[in-house]
């Protein structure tokens, strides 16, 4: 399976500040009553974006000026809680292509990488700089460069970081491991044969 080599992502950004933003908040559980992921994008951050009657609450994603954003900015421990892949799926289906945060919860990070959504980390001050540039001009293009490991925006640049295994997988077009895992079948059966509990 040929996958795109994701070496950089460029686009407008939107800042959703806060720490410990959990996957229940990213996509509330009631929207997981589905057997396909299609349609989840509409409900991204639903309960912090909308009142029960469907009217909008103040939220960056509701602001017209940020509607075209493809990069999400946030705080520490983004994506904590439930392992639901519905969270990165909702992010992707909404149209976001990458996330810059101070750090990420483990399972969310892995799920996102497998979907080809780069989750990169940056220092809080640096995220604030990007957020300030975007706030001043929402049309600002932000580039996440996974080769140089920097984010460029409005003539500035800041350092970003990403776990090497994920970065390698993205830039080399092997972020979805399934093809490689399938290729290992002979070795899988060999390893399985050494474990008594796996005997059929």
């Amino acid at each position: 399976m040929a996958l795109a080599k994701i070496t950089s992502v460029t686009g407008r950004a939107v800042n959703v500040p806060g720490n410990d933003i959990d996957t229940d908040r990213i996509i509330p559980a009631r929207f997981m009553k589905c057997v396909v992921f299609d349609g989840l994008g509409e409900f991204l951050f639903n309960d912090v974006r909308r009142n029960l009657d469907g009217t909008e609450k103040p939220h960056p994603l509701n602001e017209a000026r940020f509607k075209k954003a493809t990069i999400l900015l946030s705080g520490a421990n983004f994506g904590c809680g439930s392992s639901r892949e519905h969270a990165p799926q909702a992010i992707a289906k909404y149209g976001l292509k990458a996330i810059i945060a101070e750090n990420f919860a483990e399972i969310f990070f892995g799920n996102s990488t497998t979907l080809g959504i780069p989750c990169v980390t940056a220092a809080r001050e640096d995220i604030a700089k990007i957020a300030a540039a975007v706030e001043a001009d929402p049309k600002t293009d932000v580039t996440i460069d996974l080769v140089e490991l920097e984010a460029r925006f409005a003539g500035q640049s800041v350092k970003i970081a990403q776990r090497e295994s994920a970065r390698d997988a993205l830039v080399n077009g092997r972020w979805d491991a399934i093809g490689e895992l399938i290729d290992g079948k002979a070795d899988v059966l060999k390893t399985a044969a050494t474990l008594p509990y796996l005997a059929a």
Binding site: D24, P28, L198
Partner: protein, 472 residues
């Protein structure tokens, strides 16, 4: 070289190193449920792939099942669709399915151990973050996303980077009225919600050695609430005694061989760890949450924090946000906070011993007027065991509703939900905003006996006082 259980199990299941440096890890046991598996089967179909080891894949339904309706079709057509889907997928791919008609259905993390499917020295994966529960048996158990569910279905492996190991030792004697739930809430409170990122937690010390399997499961269950994807306890005689005679446990000569094999996976005495944390059991009190993540917890005798007492700017922002959502007064005692709902159940505290402990103390007492109290066994088998012992009657006489097995009010995917800003005393594991089904609903996490104490008094209470607990 001496090794920890994590390293031994990891090594035994390593297939090979992948191009990006991650490990292709063999997953011996795959558990699936209705919420995170349908899309994975859809991906298999799209790719024209089969399930590699259907005999190592086990399914049940838990999240969406109504606990007050057994007859299908369910009132919620979406829930029925998910039910139909998992049934069809299991039939199409030859996967064992513990359906409701089997009498073995329940929350996936209760069913695995109960059936003897969860075994020491194994790797387990499930599309659910509380898969860490199975670590109680000395297994390395990972919560995974749906694409990884697809990977495990198709290849019985997944791509993963090794974790560091932190040993958390709890030594000494727990005080009366202090439970496994308090131990893990205390650990999370101490190390923080993301303190465990990148780590597997090895729980050790004489408190864990003395714990029953059910107590160990309660602790391992909530590892993820502290950011640790994996949590485990080394297997010992308690583990083997629990597993003996279960449907999927080895039998006869195979049993003895299995025990010897399982023992070999326990951490070596002189294993080295990336970090060691020591906790004194006597420092742990009945613990309750006051905020919107499980680390925002205090002992029942403490006061709710106020922004002025914050230890950092982040902490301050967190406190302000949490108090606003919880509608709780800064600096006031948590004790006495009015509740509307009491929930006993979930994969954290929905096992036989949880209901036994509550029944022991609640017998002859009544749920306070105006409090809705529900007790939900974690599996059909737990339900039956409770009924045989008459625990259901004791709970019903006290004013609890006794329900059918499922996740129930732990999350908002079935009809059991909070309404408006109701405050729920809950034995579950997450107090996130909106977690229990109302976007303004409030959750206070605590041990089952503390839930019972809140139920009978109508306010968050110290179970030790309410029930005169002298030793547990």
């Amino acid at each position: 070289m001496p090794k920890s259980l994590f390293q031994k199990v990891w090594d035994a299941h390593t297939v090979r190193t992948l191009a990006n440096g991650q490990t292709q890890l063999l997953i011996g046991t795959h558990l699936i449920h209705e919420v995170t598996s349908p899309q994975a089967f859809g991906m298999l179909r799209d790719l024209g792939l089969k399930v590699l080891m259907p005999h190592r894949t086990f399914a049940t339904v838990d999240h969406i099942v109504p606990t007050d309706q057994l007859v299908e079709p369910y009132a919620d057509p979406l829930a029925q669709a998910m039910m139909d889907e998992i049934r069809k997928n299991c039939a199409d791919y030859g996967v064992t399915f513990f359906d409701r008609a089997s009498g073995k259905q329940g929350i996936v993390h209760i069913v695995g151990p109960e059936q003897g499917i969860t075994q020491p020295g194994t790797t387990i994966a499930c599309g659910d973050s509380h898969t860490s529960t199975h670590g109680a048996f000395g297994a390395i158990a990972f919560g995974i996303g749906t694409s990884q569910v697809r990977d495990v279905l198709a290849t019985q492996t997944m791509a993963l980077g090794a974790l560091k190991v932190r040993r958390i030792e709890v030594n000494g004697k727990l005080r009366p009225g202090v439970y496994a739930k308090d131990v893990i809430l205390h650990i999370i409170r101490t190390l923080g919600v993301n303190g465990g990122t990148g780590f597997a937690y090895e729980y050790a010390g004489n408190v864990f050695a003395g714990f029953t399997m059910e107590e160990r499961m309660t602790v391992c269950n909530m590892s993820i609430e502290g950011g640790a994807r994996v949590g485990y306890v080394n297997p010992d005689e308690t583990t083997f005694a629990y597993l003996k005679g279960r449907p999927y446990s080895p039998k006869g000569a195979a049993w003895d061989a299995a025990v010897t094999h399982w023992k070999s996976f326990a951490s070596d005495a002189n294993a080295t760890y990336d970090d060691v944390v020591k906790i004194n059991a006597a420092d742990i009190a009945p613990t309750v949450t006051w905020g919107i993540n499980p680390a925002q917890a205090i002992s029942i005798t403490e006061n709710i924090p106020s922004p002025e007492t914050a230890t950092s700017d982040d902490d301050k922002v967190g406190i302000i946000e949490a108090l606003a959502y919880m509608k709780l007064p800064a600096g006031a005692p948590i004790k006495g906070t009015k509740i509307s709902v009491a929930f006993l159940g979930s994969c954290t505290n929905g096992r036989l011993s949880d209901f036994q402990e509550v029944a022991k103390y609640i017998k002859g007492r009544k749920v306070a007027p105006g409090v809705k109290a529900i007790a939900v066994p974690g599996s059909q088998i737990v339900g039956l065991q409770c009924e045989k012992l008459g625990l259901d009657k004791i709970l019903v006489e006290a004013g609890f509703e006794w329900r059918a097995a499922g996740c129930s009010m732990c999350l908002a995917m079935n009809p059991d939900k909070l309404v408006g800003d109701q405050l729920c005393a809950s034995s579950s594991n997450r107090n996130f905003k909106g977690r229990q089904g109302s976007t303004t609903g409030r959750t206070v996490l605590m041990s089952p006996l503390m839930v019972a104490a809140a139920a009978v008094t109508g306010v968050v209470s110290d179970a030790r006082e309410v029930f005169h607990v002298v030793n547990s």
